[in-house]
């Protein structure tokens, strides 16, 4: 790694509810404040308190949008984190662990699932080490990891005595201490760690206390260790442009607010809730002309009601959306069809998580694509969009309303748990770059102007007809989930049925023609390369980086990211497919859902399908390995990425 290039992967772990996220936030912001690009990945259990969670923060001089293994620094406070992640520390890396922790045999650890337990034990046995925490630490040392014992208990006492913090508070601040120790070990500017603290704790009194803890930790580190002898360094960058540091759910919420969302319904569900909670907390925001603008966020009794309520609101003209994850989508299915046949502009944001059923509620999967494309009995037009990173999440969330209102139908915006909980530095969002298309709304008229009812569903060439909003004079018509005439009267007439089916479905054809290619498909890497990787959604970051790494080695890769999955951009893809050799599809699901859609719409099958379905995102190194196997001719048509340690 050249002197100018920095790329440090830092991991902190601990029981849920013990401040792991806060620690990661402080570290990430501290790094961002030093001008670095930062990416954060969060893993946690479906549990409130006590089960293992961890957070990866990657800090780099280039934009990063994916985690990597191994990590350079591992911060642990207790045995479980140590055991789960000790093997993940790179040679030359650092491992912090509790000096006071006892040596525990791995096979006594009931919290570990048997496969992981076995993998760890056999790893140590092969290395001739005892199957205990001590064995793991020794293995790390042998691998060239600097193992540092931290007397957390003593440090907490120190915080109590020096800063006057209560014991409980001191214990919470140990997180900050560990972050600061990490900073000290990297010889990073302590002021920037303190800035990270300030940005995280805001104007609360905790800020000052934690900043003092930072100083204590730095002092302790300088006293205790020979910092100059340590291998890693992080020096603040000269250029520090303003960047945002935020999560996928926040980006979506901001995109919706920018687009003028007026109504959002939701029923709580991981990992979608955070978006609605954010909107609720920011329900009133200023307008550019000094006014205020509100969004009504409505918690319903279930997702059946959530989709119905949002549809009802949309009929009045409010830009309306709902957000959920897979189980909620299953329940919203009936409402999608109703919105489809009634041509209701409706945005449905889906954060995919591990399925089926309750599945892996706090883990990630791209498991709902084919369902999203086909959810609902019968046939109606819909859009399915998928964002690849936090910045796209913002833009797509806003754009979804434009599609919904222009084409008067359902837009499903697919994200996943990975993106939802990703923390990332991005350039500040620029709302002036967004444009708003409210579609065809009927003009108010005299009551009686349309004696037989307003022809809300009159077939047109584009399939789009003006819609009056509930409450508007002169626009009265009927709406029904049954097939209907142009004024919305229920009909079973065969010809009217054909006309209305065609009217509705035509909108998709028009959309496919009208919408610019770049909104559907993005090309990265070398557009002329034959080696073609096709992706959708959150695997983008891994592929981008792998592509760059291969390019640096002289291997050119073309990366096509599909952002609009339905209508499927078959036409736009055609020239690329014709020249792809090999064609590789990367997805985090079992069956290669996008690959299936691709074949369905183009007849083309990928040469290699790279999948990961253990509920975790693909790390850049995992993808690189897969791509190298493909390049070396060693990969079959199906390549499964496995990782028992995450």
């Amino acid at each position: 790694m050249s002197a100018n290039v920095v790329d440090i992967a830092w991991r902190v772990g601990g029981p849920q509810g013990k401040g792991v996220d806060t620690a990661a936030g402080v570290f990430g912001r501290a790094a961002a404040a030093g001008g670095f690009f930062v990416f954060g990945r969060r893993e946690y259990y479906s549990n409130i308190m006590g089960r293992h969670s961890y957070f990866d923060i990657r800090v780099a001089t280039h934009p990063v949008a994916v985690h990597r293994n191994p990590v350079d620094i591992l911060v642990t406070f207790e045995t479980e984190t140590l055991v789960r992640h000790a093997l993940a520390v790179a040679a030359g890396g650092l491992l912090l662990h509790d000096a006071g922790a006892a040596d525990v045999p791995i096979d006594r650890m009931v919290f570990l699932d048997p496969p992981l337990q076995e993998a760890l034990v056999s790893h140590l046995e092969e290395a001739g080490l005892p199957p205990t925490t001590a064995g793991l630490l020794e293995a790390a040392r042998r691998r060239g990891v600097t193992v540092l014992s931290v007397p957390y208990g003593e440090l907490a006492e120190h915080l109590t005595s020096t800063l006057g913090a209560s014991r409980a508070r001191a214990e919470r601040m140990i997180n900050t201490v560990a972050v600061a120790l990490s900073g000290a070990l990297l010889q990073y500017d302590p002021e920037l760690i303190k800035k990270g603290v300030a940005l995280t704790f805001g104007s609360s009194p905790m800020t000052e206390l934690n900043q003092q803890a930072v100083d204590l930790a730095y002092a302790y580190a300088r006293e205790t260790w020979d910092l100059e002898a340590l291998p890693l360094r992080l020096a603040p960058r000269a250029e520090r442009p303003v960047r945002l540091f935020l999560s996928g759910t926040q980006a979506v919420a901001m995109g919706k607010l920018a687009a003028g969302i007026a109504f959002q319904s939701y029923y709580p569900i991981s990992p979608a809730t955070d978006e609605s909670v954010y909107l609720e907390r920011h329900a009133t925001v200023p307008t550019v002309d000094g006014g205020t603008s509100s969004v009504l966020v409505w918690q319903t009794e279930d997702e059946l009601a959530a989709v119905a309520t949002a549809s009802g609101a949309a009929l009045t003209g409010a830009r309306s959306a709902t957000a959920t994850s897979g189980p909620g989508l299953s329940l919203m299915t009936e409402g999608l069809g109703w919105a489809g046949i009634n041509e209701v502009p409706l945005v449905v944001t889906i954060y995919q998580r591990g399925g089926p059923a309750t599945g892996l509620p706090t883990r990630s999967e791209q498991g709902d694509l084919l369902f999203a494309a086909h959810a609902g009995h019968g046939e109606f037009p819909r859009f399915v969009l998928a964002s690849g990173d936090v910045a796209e999440a913002f833009v797509d969330a806003a754009q979804a309303f434009n599609y919904a209102e222009r084409y008067q139908t359902v837009v499903i915006h697919l994200l996943d748990k990975t993106l939802a909980s990703t923390l990332q530095t991005v350039d500040p969002f620029d709302t002036s770059q967004l444009s708003i298309d409210r579609g065809l709304v009927a003009e108010p008229a005299e009551n009686g102007a349309w004696p037989g009812g307003f022809p809300r569903f009159r077939p047109t060439e584009s399939g789009i007809s003006p819609r009056p909003l509930l409450g508007q004079p002169g626009g009265m018509h009927w709406l029904t989930g049954a097939e209907h005439s142009e004024v919305g009267r229920v009909t079973e007439d065969p010809t009217t049925r054909e006309q209305q089916m065609e009217k509705r479905m035509r909108k998709l054809e028009v959309a496919a023609r009208e919408i610019p290619a770049e909104e559907k498909l993005q090309v990265y890497g070398d557009p002329d390369a034959a080696f073609t990787v096709l992706s959708w959604g959150s695997t983008k970051g891994a592929i981008l980086e792998a592509t760059q790494r291969l390019a640096a080695e002289g291997v050119q890769v073309r990366h096509l990211q599909i952002r609009m999955l339905w209508p499927f951009p078959a036409q736009e893809l055609a020239p690329f497919l014709a020249t792809a050799q090999p064609l590789v599809v990367v997805e985090t699901n079992y069956s290669g859902q996008m690959a299936r859609l691709l074949t369905q719409e183009t007849g083309t099958k990928p040469d290699h399908l790279v999948v990961k379905y253990n509920g975790r995102p693909i790390a850049v190194n995992e993808l690189l390995e897969a791509m190298r196997a493909i390049l070396a001719g060693k990969a079959g048509p199906r390549y499964v990425i496995r990782n028992p340690f995450e």
Partner: protein, 320 residues
């Protein structure tokens, strides 16, 4: 709003009606149209949401904004529209299957909000449109025409359920007592909160137990089986009503709502004016809720640019 100029004709439409002859739904439709006209509402100010069932076709025949929703979901759709456009007069109509079976969860949870809308439940004790299966209001052991055996499930009392769910206005009418029904519907609409009106509705095609003749007491010398609540019955709860009065009112409510002796009571069973409407509560949260409700929210400027200023939100996450 010029009251004088609105007549029942304004709410009528010329559209072939396909209910069975003699269906109680005709009475309810008639009463609804009269009630709306009587309140001086103009058609575009009214949105009638229907469930799925024979009852769910009611709004086909009303000149207004009419929304035929999904089976059981009439309340959530209606709630969404009313929340987004509080100026609309929102009426939800549906059957006993629609509201008490597949829609029961929404029925219960709507009770928590006290949103200013009116829900009219057509209680014919059967699933009309699917050919006469038992609905959740059919009493245990009753066997209507289409049932191969008497029903083995008990019937739900909609008034009791409404009370338990927190509806602030609860009434009951009879489909062919049109005059009484008009008054009840108007009271329900005027009530500034969530109103629930059960209407006993003969289904001549499938409910051979509780027919128009039965309600009219044809078998007992024409003494009707329904009658208004006694004038002494007081349904009103005012702000500050003491616990004892409240308990007494509730006990009286239950006695009348569940009475097994005839006549079946009609009228206003419950009128709770002590609970603020949801609209009032929303204004507390969103100060511009009434001046710029979701339906009217400004989204873009003249150039199609967003009017929202995200700056304060970006500042929260900006690293400078």
């Amino acid at each position: 709003m010029s009251v004088a100029t609105v007549t029942v004709k304004d709410f009528q439409v010329d559209y072939p009606n396909d209910w069975c002859p003699g269906c109680g739904d005709f009475g309810i439709l008639n009463a609804l149209q009269q009630a709306l006209a009587g309140l001086g509402l103009r058609p575009h100010e009214v949105a009638v949401f229907g469930g799925i069932g024979c009852s769910g076709k009611t709004q086909y025949y009303v000149n207004a904004y009419d929304i035929h929703t999904l089976h059981g979901r009439v309340l959530p759709y209606a709630i969404g529209a009313k929340l987004a456009n509080p100026a609309l007069t929102v009426i939800a109509v549906g059957g006993d299957g629609d509201g008490m079976a597949i829609g029961a969860g929404h029925f219960v949870n709507a009770g928590r909000g006290n949103l200013d809308l009116t829900y009219i439940l057509f209680n014919n004790e059967v699933y009309g449109l699917t050919k006469g299966q038992a609905s959740p209001t059919l009493p245990l052991g009753a066997q209507t025409k289409s049932l191969p055996e008497p029903t083995i499930q008990s019937g739900i009392n909609p008034l009791m359920l409404a009370m338990a769910s927190g509806y602030t206005w609860i009434g009951r009418g009879y489909a062919f007592d049109i005059r009484g029904l008009v008054r009840l519907i108007q009271q329900a609409i005027r009530h500034p909160g969530l109103a629930f009106l059960e209407v006993l509705q003969p289904c001549p095609t499938y409910n051979n137990l509780h027919t128009k003749a039965w309600f009219a007491g044809k078998d007992r010398g024409g003494l009707p089986r329904y009658a208004p609540l006694e004038p002494s019955y007081d349904p009103v709860i005012l702000p500050g009503t003491d616990e004892a009065t409240l308990q007494a009112r509730m006990a009286a409510f239950i006695a009348e709502a569940t009475r097994s002796e005839e006549p079946i009571r009609t009228g206003v069973f419950w009128e709770n004016r002590a609970v603020p409407s949801l609209g009032e509560r929303l204004v507390q949260r969103l100060p511009n809720y009434l001046s710029e409700p979701p339906a009217k929210k400004a989204v873009a400027d003249g150039h199609g640019r967003p009017v929202v200023d995200l700056e304060p939100l970006l500042a929260e996450v900006a690293i400078r």
